[in-house]
C-alpha cells in the first residue's frame, strides 16, 4: 500500500460514520416515507399505488390552510427572532468585554439545558389565568379580574421566539466577531451616521450569519411540536400536529407520510426562495458564518 492509499483509506474511515448516519438515518427513512405516501388505501388491508393522498391534501382546505398558517407564523417568528437576536449578538461580539462575553453566551445557553416540555410548562405556569403574571397584574391593580394570557397566537409566537432565539444569536455573533472593527471606524471617519454604518457596513457583512441563523430558526419553528400545541390551546393548528393526528388518531399512515413529505418540500422551497431573495447561496452562508 502506498502512502496515498493509506491517506485515502483514513479519509474514508473518518467519513464512514457520517455517511452511514446520512444514509441510514436521513435518506432511507425519507425514501420509505415517500413510498408510503404513494400508497392508497382501498379497503382494510388492500392497497394500490397512486397520487390520491396528495390530491386529498389539495382538496381539503383545512390541510393547506394549516400549512400556510404554519409557514407564515414561522416566517414572522424568524423576523422577530432576528430583531431580538441582532442587538444581543452585536453586543456580545463588538461591545462586551472578554469576561462579560462568556457570561452572556452562558446566559443564552442555560435555557437549553432544560427540555422543551419543561420550558413550555414554565410558560404555562407564568401565563395561565391563575398564573404568576395574572396574579401580579391583579395585585398591582392594573387589571380587575384574572386575565388569560395562554391559548392565543401571540403567546405561541412569543414562546417560539424564546425557544429558538439562541440559534439566531450564535451564528450572528460569530460572523460579527470576524468583522474587523476598523471597517466600522472607517465608516464613521467618512462621515456616516450610526444608522448608515449599520445599514451599509455591518448588515451586509453579517448577511451570511443572518441567513444561516434564519434558516435554522425557520426550520426549527416550522418543525416544532410542543410549544405551539401547549401554548396555542384550542385554536392551535400546527402542521406537525396534523401529521401526528394522521399517524396516531386516524391510523392513516399514508396521509401522514404525505404530509411529512409536503412539509419537507414546502420548507425547503421557502429556504430556497429566501436565499434567492437575499442573494446568498448555501455554500457562502455556511462557510462564512462558521469562520
Amino acid at each position: 500500500m502506498t502512502r496515498q492509499h493509506v491517506r485515502r483509506l483514513t479519509l474514508f474511515m473518518l467519513l464512514a460514520p457520517f455517511l452511514l448516519w446520512i444514509l441510514l438515518m436521513i435518506v432511507l427513512p425519507h425514501l420509505g416515507i415517500f413510498a408510503l405516501s404513494l400508497r392508497e388505501k382501498v379497503a382494510p388491508l388492500v392497497y394500490t399505488i397512486g397520487p390520491k393522498n396528495y390530491l386529498d391534501f389539495l382538496r381539503e382546505p383545512i390541510y393547506w390552510n394549516t400549512l400556510l398558517r404554519t409557514a407564515s407564523i414561522s416566517i414572522l417568528v424568524t423576523a422577530l427572532t432576528f430583531l431580538v437576536g441582532f442587538p444581543i449578538a452585536y453586543y456580545i461580539a463588538k461591545i462586551a468585554g472578554r469576561r462579560v462575553k462568556g457570561a452572556l453566551f452562558l446566559a443564552c445557553l442555560i435555557p437549553l439545558w432544560v427540555s422543551d416540555l419543561v420550558r413550555a410548562y414554565g410558560w404555562m405556569i407564568l401565563l395561565r389565568e391563575t398564573g404568576v403574571v395574572s396574579s401580579v397584574l391583579q395585585w398591582t391593580g392594573i387589571v380587575d379580574g384574572p386575565v388569560e394570557l395562554l391559548y392565543n397566537d401571540a403567546t405561541v409566537v412569543v414562546g417560539l421566539v424564546y425557544t429558538v432565539v439562541l440559534f439566531m444569536i450564535v451564528p450572528l455573533a460569530s460572523t460579527l466577531e470576524g468583522m474587523d472593527d476598523s471597517l466600522i471606524e472607517a465608516g464613521y471617519n467618512l462621515g456616516g451616521s450610526g444608522f448608515t454604518v449599520m445599514r451599509r457596513i455591518v448588515i451586509p457583512y453579517a448577511m451570511p450569519g443572518i441567513v444561516a441563523g434564519s434558516i435554522i430558526v425557520f426550520m426549527l419553528t416550522a418543525g416544532s411540536y410542543l410549544t405551539p400545541i401547549l401554548l396555542g390551546g384550542k385554536n392551535s393548528m400546527w402542521f406537525t400536529e396534523q401529521i401526528y393526528e394522521q399517524f396516531i388518531t386516524r391510523f392513516n399512515w399514508e396521509s401522514g407520510a404525505t404530509f411529512g413529505i409536503l412539509l419537507l418540500l414546502f420548507t425547503s422551497l421557502t429556504v430556497w426562495l429566501g436565499l434567492r431573495l437575499s442573494g446568498q447561496s448555501l455554500a457562502t452562508t455556511v462557510a462564512r458564518s462558521e469562520a
Partner: protein
C-alpha cells in the same frame, strides 16, 4: 494507543447491551394508562417475583399505533380498551391470543369477564381479560354550575370560556346521545353514523367559544378544575372521583342520556417476549389487597368480583355520591369499533379543531 484501550471498553458495553436483551424474561414491559401502574404495586411485584417492570404511559390510539409500527413488538403486555381489540387485530394483527388457563378467572366479576371475552374473541380465540372499568361522562363543579347535567349543557352560553373537553371520539358520541341519537346502534351503518357525528360536530363548533382549551390527559384536566379555571368538562369518572376527594364541590355527573362505559383490558402484544411474566402480573394485580391498592390510586373500579368494595372509603363515597342504581343500569357500553370508523371520526375532529 488510546484507541486500543477504547476498543475493549466498547466491546464490553456492547456485550452488556446484548445480554440485557437476552435477560428479557426478567423484565415486563407494560404499555398502559397513566395511574394504572402505581409505584407501590410495582415495588411489591418486583420483590415477590424478581421481575422488573418497565412502564410506558399511553392512550388507546397510541397503543395501537405503537404496536402497529413494530408488528406487535416492543412491549410484553398492553392495556387497550375492550372496543379496541377486534378491529385492530383484524386490520393490523398486533395481538396474541391469551391462554386463559394461565389466569385465575375465578376472581373476576363474571359479567365483566363475559363482556370482554365476547368483544375480543376472534375465530374462537380470546385476546383479552378485563382489568379496570369506568365510564365517561361529565365532571362538574356543582357550586359553579349546579344544573349542568348533559353533554349539551356544555354548550350553555352561561359557561362561556369556562368549559373544557377532550377532543377525541368520546365527545362526538356523548354529544350524539345528548341530541337524542344512538351512535353505537349506528356503528354498522357508516352513512347513518356519519350523519350523527356530523350533527354533533356542528354543535361542538357552534359552542367552541365555551371551550377554554382541550385537555389531553388526566393531570391536565385536574389542574384546570382545581384552579377553578373551568367549571365542567367531559371526563373519565376515576379522574373526577380523585378530584372529589380534594374538593367536595367537584364530582362526576353521569349524563341524563347515560354514561359511556368502557373496560380497559389486559392484552398480549403479538411479539411479547415475557408472556409468563405478563400472566404473573395479571394474576398479581387481581389479588384483593393489590386490587385495592390499584383502585385507590387510579380512582377506577377493578374487574375483581368484589371490585366495588376493593377501593378506598373516600372513593367509595365519591362513587355512591355520583351514581344512583338507575345511573348504573343506564350505562351505555362502548361497542366494538368497526374498521375505518376512526378515520371518519378523525376528519370530523380535525374540522372542530380548525374552526374559529
Amino acid at each position: 494507543m488510546r484507541a486500543c484501550k477504547l476498543f475493549p471498553a466498547l466491546l464490553s458495553a456492547l456485550l452488556v447491551a446484548m445480554s440485557a436483551s437476552s435477560w428479557a424474561q426478567d423484565t415486563l414491559r407494560l404499555l398502559t394508562w397513566g395511574s394504572y401502574a402505581p409505584e407501590n404495586v410495582i415495588e411489591r411485584f418486583e420483590k415477590e417475583t424478581g421481575i422488573e417492570v418497565e412502564v410506558t404511559y399511553s392512550n388507546n390510539e397510541e397503543m395501537i399505533s405503537k404496536l402497529r409500527a413494530t408488528g406487535g413488538g416492543g412491549f410484553d403486555l398492553a392495556q387497550p380498551s375492550h372496543d379496541r381489540i377486534h378491529a385492530a387485530q383484524l386490520e393490523y394483527n398486533i395481538y396474541k391470543p391469551m391462554d386463559l388457563s394461565m389466569i385465575d378467572t375465578s376472581v373476576y366479576d363474571t359479567s365483566l369477564l363475559g363482556a370482554v371475552k365476547e368483544n375480543t374473541t376472534i375465530d374462537g380465540e380470546t385476546y383479552s381479560v378485563p382489568h379496570f372499568w369506568g365510564t365517561s361522562g361529565l365532571v362538574v363543579n356543582r357550586k359553579e354550575a349546579p344544573d349542568l347535567k348533559s353533554f349539551s349543557d356544555l354548550c350553555d352560553p352561561r359557561y362561556k370560556g369556562r368549559i373544557s373537553m377532550r377532543l377525541k371520539r368520546t365527545i362526538l358520541i356523548g354529544m350524539g346521545y345528548a341530541m337524542g341519537e344512538d351512535p353505537f346502534a349506528a356503528y354498522g351503518n357508516m352513512t347513518e353514523y356519519g350523519r350523527i357525528i356530523d350533527a354533533a360536530a356542528e354543535k361542538l363548533i357552534e359552542c367552541k367559544d365555551n371551550v377554554k382549551t382541550y385537555w389531553t390527559g388526566g393531570d391536565d384536566l385536574s389542574n384546570l378544575l382545581r384552579s377553578g379555571e373551568i367549571v365542567a368538562s367531559d371526563a373519565w369518572d376515576g379522574t373526577a372521583f380523585k378530584l372529589n376527594t380534594e374538593n367536595s364541590d367537584i364530582n362526576f355527573t353521569p349524563p341524563a342520556h347515560g354514561a359511556l362505559g368502557w373496560i380497559d383490558t389486559f392484552t398480549l402484544p403479538r411479539k411479547t417476549r415475557a408472556e409468563e411474566a405478563a400472566y404473573k402480573w395479571i394474576n398479581f394485580v387481581m389479588q384483593p389487597d393489590v386490587a385495592k391498592m390499584m383502585s385507590s390510586h387510579s380512582g377506577y373500579v377493578t374487574a375483581h368480583r368484589n371490585g366495588g368494595d376493593l377501593t378506598s372509603d373516600q372513593l367509595k363515597q365519591s362513587f355512591n355520591d355520583a351514581f344512583s342504581r338507575q345511573d348504573i343500569a343506564n350505562i351505555k357500553w362502548f361497542a366494538n369499533i368497526p374498521p375505518g370508523l376512526e378515520d371518519i371520526e378523525g376528519k370530523v375532529l380535525e374540522r372542530i379543531k380548525a374552526a374559529r
